[in-house]
C-alpha cells in the first residue's frame, strides 16, 4: 500500500474474456479506480494458486482473478479447474488468517465492461477496508 493509503491490487485476467472486458471498459471511457495492476494470462486455469500467495508476499494488498463465465472458456474447461483450485485456496487463506476481502475471483465476459467496473470498485473498496497487509510481506534484505 502506498503512502496515501491507496491499496495495491494485482489482477490476473484471462486473455479471452476479462482482459477484453477491461479493454471495453477502457474504450467506453468508464471511470474506475486505477489501483489495479493487470497481468494478462491466457486462461484462469493457468493461474497457479501460488501466484496469489506470491503476489501477497510481494506487496499486493489484494488479488483479483477474473476469467470467462463457466461454459465460455476459450479452452473449454480451464475456468472450471480454476474455480475448484482457487475456491480451495480462498478457504485456505481464510483459515490461516488472511482477510477474505483480499482475494476475489470473478467472471467477466468480453462484453461486460460495466461489470468489470463494478468488480474493480468492489475489490478496491474491500482492500481499502482491510487495510495495508504488512504481516505477510517478503522481507527485503540488502546484503
Amino acid at each position: 500500500m502506498s503512502a496515501n493509503n491507496e491499496p495495491n491490487i494485482v489482477a490476473f485476467l484471462c486473455n479471452w474474456c476479462s482482459y477484453a472486458g477491461a479493454d471495453l471498459a477502457g474504450t467506453s471511457r468508464m471511470q474506475y479506480p486505477s489501483n489495479i495492476n493487470v497481468i494478462r494470462v491466457m486462461c484462469t486455469g493457468r493461474v497457479n494458486p501460488l501466484y496469489v500467495v506470491n503476489a501477497l508476499q510481494q506487496g499486493a494488498d489484494g488479488v483479483l482473478v477474473s476469467g470467462c463465465h463457466p461454459g465460455d472458456c476459450h479452452y473449454m474447461e480451464g475456468n472450471y479447474f480454476a474455480r475448484r483450485r482457487l475456491g480451495m485456496l480462498k478457504d485456505l487463506l481464510e483459515y490461516v488468517g488472511v482477510d477474505p476481502r483480499r482475494f476475489h475471483m470473478s467472471w467477466v465476459s468480453a462484453s461486460e465492461g460495466h461489470k468489470w467496473k463494478e468488480v474493480v470498485e468492489k475489490t478496491v473498496e474491500d482492500a481499502r477496508e482491510a487495510g495495508p497487509f504488512e504481516g505477510f510481506r517478503r522481507r527485503q534484505i540488502d546484503w
Binding site: 479447474f81 474455480r83 480451495m88 481464510e94 488468517g97 477474505p100 475471483m105 534484505i141
Partner: protein, 326 residues
C-alpha cells in the same frame, strides 16, 4: 492381531519370486521405538510386528525409491514391492494409484485392520520410556503396556492418537492379502480443533498461525515423510523460479506452509505423519483436516477410497460451488 500369522504371511510373501522386498514394522532399538523393516527374503520377516506403536506410514517408501539410470545392457528389476498397510496407509496407496504414482501390478498390499494407534508423544510423556524395549498390545477396551516385565492396562481414550479418534476407515480399502478379520469401525469424533479455529476472528486466526509458523525451521520433514509428496522436482527445491525463498522468516514460512497444504488439498488422506515428525510441533493436521473437510463438505469428494476415481484438482464438476465469486 496374531503375530505368528503375520510373520508367516510376511515370510510367504517375501519368499515369492516376483517380490523384490517386503516393507513392514519391527521393534526399534529402545523403549517404544518401532522401525520400518525391509525384508528381501523370508528370514528378514522373523521379527516383524504389528502393534499400537506402528504409526509410521510405510506407503512413503513406495515413492522414496531412487530410480537411477541403468548401466547399458542391464535389465530393470521389475519385481513387486510388498508392504503392510493400516487403514490410513491403504488410502495413501489408493491415492497413489489414482495419481499413477505407482501401478497396481507393482505392489503387493498386505492389509492390517487397525483398532487404533497410540500417540507416541503422549505415551512417552505419561509412561516414560525405558532403556529396555517396551511393547504395546491391544486389549478389548484399551492398550496394554509391557515395560520391564510389568503389564499396565490403559483405557483406549487416554492414549489414542488424534488421527485415530477421527478415523473413518480403520480397515484397509485396498489390499491383496488381509491379515485379520476387519475391525468394527468406531464413531469418528467431532473435529473440534478445526471448528475452534474456524470460529475465531480473522486476526485471531492470523495470530494463531503466526505463532505456530514462526516455529517452523523449514526442515521439510513433513514433505519428506508424506506418502503423497513425491515430486522429483519439488517447487521448494527450485532456485529458478524460486517460489518460496529459503530464508526462515515468517513470510516464507507461511508461504511454504500454504503451498504444502495446498498441494495436498483433495489428496491428503489424514495419516497424520507430517504432524508426528514435525520437530517444531506445528499442528499441520489442523490445516490438512480443514482442507479435507472443505473438500468433503463442499465438493463431496474423499481422496484415497476408489483407485478408479479422478484426482480432485485435475477434475471438475459443472456445478461446483461458486458462492465466493463476485
Amino acid at each position: 492381531m496374531d503375530l505368528d500369522k503375520l510373520r508367516e504371511t510376511a515370510a510367504e510373501v517375501a519368499a515369492r519370486d516376483d517380490v523384490k522386498y517386503l516393507i513392514g514394522w519391527e521393534k526399534g532399538s529402545y523403549g517404544y521405538r518401532v522401525a520400518p523393516a525391509f525384508a528381501e527374503d523370508a528370514d528378514g520377516t522373523a521379527d516383524m510386528i504389528f502393534s499400537p506403536l506402528c504409526t509410521a506410514n510405510l506407503a512413503t517408501y513406495l515413492t522414496l525409491v531412487e530410480k537411477l539410470p541403468l548401466p547399458r545392457g542391464q535389465e530393470p528389476d521389475n519385481r513387486k514391492v510388498a508392504l503392510m498397510v493400516k487403514g490410513c496407509d491403504s488410502r495413501a496407496v489408493a491415492q497413489l494409484l489414482v495419481e499413477k504414482g505407482i501401478h497396481r501390478d507393482e505392489v503387493v498390499v498386505i492389509g492390517c485392520p487397525c483398532p487404533g494407534m497410540v500417540d507416541p508423544a503422549l505415551l512417552s510423556e505419561k509412561y516414560p520410556e525405558t532403556e529396555e524395549i517396551a511393547e504395546l498390545k491391544w486389549s478389548d477396551d484399551g492398550f496394554i503396556i509391557v515395560r520391564n516385565g510389568e503389564e499396565t492396562a490403559v483405557p483406549r481414550e487416554e492414549l489414542l492418537a488424534e488421527k485415530c479418534r477421527l478415523c473413518r476407515y480403520p480397515n484397509p480399502v485396498v489390499s491383496d492379502i488381509m491379515l485379520d478379520e476387519p475391525v468394527e469401525s468406531w464413531e469418528p469424533a467431532e473435529d473440534e480443533e478445526v471448528t475452534e479455529i474456524e470460529g475465531k476472528e480473522v486476526e485471531g486466526r492470523w495470530d494463531y498461525w503466526q505463532q505456530e509458523f514462526s516455529n517452523c525451521i523449514r526442515c521439510y520433514s513433513c514433505r519428506n515423510v508424506c506418502p503423497l509428496c513425491y515430486c522429483q522436482d519439488c517447487i521448494l527445491d527450485r532456485i529458478n523460479p524460486s517460489w518460496v525463498f529459503r530464508s526462515v522468516n515468517f513470510s516464507e514460512n507461511t508461504a511454504f506452509n500454504i503451498a504444502r497444504a495446498f498441494h495436498l488439498a483433495g489428496r491428503c488422506i489424514e495419516c497424520g505423519e507430517c504432524e508426528r515428525v514435525c520437530p517444531a510441533n506445528i499442528p499441520l493436521g489442523k490445516i490438512n483436516r480443514k482442507l479435507a473437510r472443505e473438500v468433503r463438505d463442499k465438493y463431496g469428494f474423499e481422496p484415497g477410497l476408489d483407485p478408479e476415481s479422478e484426482p480432485f484438482q485435475a477434475s471438475y464438476k459443472p456445478d461446483d460451488p461458486e458462492d465466493f465469486i463476485l
